[in-house]
Point group: C2
Chain length 334, copies 2
């Protein structure tokens, strides 16, 4: 009798463990902006879909193997940072001095631990630096040379700033600066060109692992022709990135200044938990505030139930997911 | 008849204007930490009270004269930055390389506009640089040399980093570094010394002007012995500073890493508007999360009705206010 009940108990625990496991989910974005089917060469469209699918598979594989959402987010973003198609890592847009200045952040929804770096140009994978700030320093946010020194001490691969610069980005900057000069526009003009050029934002990833833990990460080259020293929302915990198991994981992309002012990532989490909005409603409402303030962009959001929201108020947003039913989709336009 | 109704209308508008005016309110903090009456020399206690009172009067005068809450916040913080007693501007704590690295931010509750600088050591008044980033650049957040170049272009007074360093701060850093060496502590040890040394945090100000507009600002030298490049919550919109006329204005002080992770300033605003908590409840609840995560510090918060909250979970917090009834109080301990 004792044996029988023990066996029941064991079975119960095993079954419980098996069914209590969460189905992994991963969602990514690769920037929002003037992304229109009419302007998109078919081969580039194909390339974007393939890159997004590959990024998703990398992260999903980590989750399937029982890895943490934090590791999945990092691995996925490393791939996107290394891909010249996206405004993060290699292929980052350049500032007004034609330099790359990269920002990244990551957050663990299980512990509310977070790490971020800003204004770095010598760390090959800014997202990994952000993760190490979180895990190996007493700090959350490190900037500039101090962040680079820390990353180096931690054994991360260091590169020269030129490593990040692609011919395409030099051309885009030159074109933009020439146009601005021609138009004799004032300083405020540097606000809008991203949309015209269509490279607006960041890359980001949110993930749910089998243990039910959420994580979020964001990495970016920022805004083309930004002033030297400018930092957007990507490394700001609560603006570009937030994750809390009790609410959701969020990564934003867009005109960072507005996302900071509207505290977008945490606002979505707050609307969900404090006002009981659905994830979709919460994400949309935060984005509506950005729009009201004059900004544009998009977000990806994911909760523990596997709900996904990916609203944006631009023409398009590179995005994709593998949901709890293992369905993969990659999307570019409205 | 027409004249009569016009006169009625004029009177109505004038009366309405007079009575619709808000009573100015100003609240400040000068850092939280191990501030105990038992350890406080009477002459220092007097000096702190006097400095807080003077800071309050400066800001209140601006408000009384019909100035904006934004200007009141800036003027008050300039005084605190220039006072060596506080960890902001002159008298800032030093990083692990014995350098000052200053951070500041400001936010306009009427428009949700915001400005911030981090990692600067050549701008005499970091709070003014934050305000100029908000008003004169298309950006919200600028760091390091880029922020300094911008401030210089805007005509702000520039200084050498030595300007901010006081003998007291050199002594405190040396004492701390010697103790850490003696104790052969690991890197994580640099987390706790602020509290022991009692110089923990920032200066901050929230204000309500006659037009009913809220503003918030925060300025700091950061955390003593912080790693070169570390940035805390003070320049992070949503963490150390937030202002929204529809909710409240908040400035935080304390162990910045926890305030970033808990998104304290915006969390208070969110709890107030989304969960209809009182200002006091909202501020306390956000601070409780900081404590739950392992952090300590305090906040000041103010809403349009003139309600004031000043909770902290340390031994003391330098703080004070002039309320809507023109009552002034300055406080140091629990």
């Amino acid at each position: 009798m004792k044996c029988l009940s023990l066996s029941f108990l064991t079975n119960f625990l095993i079954m419980n463990y098996l069914f209590a496991q969460y189905q992994p989910v991963i969602v990514i974005h690769g920037g929002a902006g003037t992304i229109r089917k009419a302007d998109m060469p078919p081969e580039k469209e194909k390339e974007v879909h393939e890159a997004l699918a590959k990024a998703l598979r990398i992260g999903y594989q980590t989750l399937e193997n029982g890895g943490t959402s934090l590791d999945a987010v990092e691995q996925t973003i490393i791939f996107l940072e290394n891909h010249p198609l996206f405004n993060a890592g290699v292929g980052s847009v350049l500032n007004n001095k034609a330099q790359p200045e990269l920002d990244a952040s990551i957050m663990n929804g299980a512990t509310l631990e977070a790490g971020a770096v800003a204004g770095v140009s010598r760390i090959k994978q800014p997202i990994s630096a952000a993760k190490l700030v979180m895990q190996k320093s007493p700090h959350v946010f490190m900037i500039g040379k101090g962040a680079e020194q820390f990353a180096k001490e931690q054994g991360l691969e260091m590169v020269k700033p030129n490593y990040f610069i692609t011919p395409e980005q030099i051309n885009q900057l030159k074109k933009l600066q020439k146009r601005l000069k021609d138009q004799k526009k004032n300083q405020k003009a540097s606000l809008s060109p991203n949309q015209e050029i269509g490279k607006f934002g960041t890359v980001g990833c949110v993930a749910l692992d089998k243990a039910g833990n959420l994580a979020a990460g964001t990495s970016t080259g920022g805004m083309i022709n930004k002033r030297y020293g400018r930092v957007g929302d990507a490394p700001i915990i609560g603006a570009g990135t937030y994750a809390d198991n009790n609410s959701c994981a969020v990564s934003a992309t867009g005109h960072g200044e507005y996302f900071i002012r509207a505290n977008v990532a945490f606002r979505i989490a707050a609307l969900k938990t404090m006002q009981n909005l659905s994830l979709q409603q919460a994400a949309q409402q935060a984005l509506d505030l950005v729009q009201k303030l004059g900004g544009s962009g998009g977000v990806i959001a994911l909760d523990r139930e596997g709900n996904i929201a990916m609203p944006f108020n631009t023409d398009g947003m590179y995005r994709g997911y593998i949901d709890k039913n293992k369905r993969m989709e990659t999307l570019l336009y409205k």
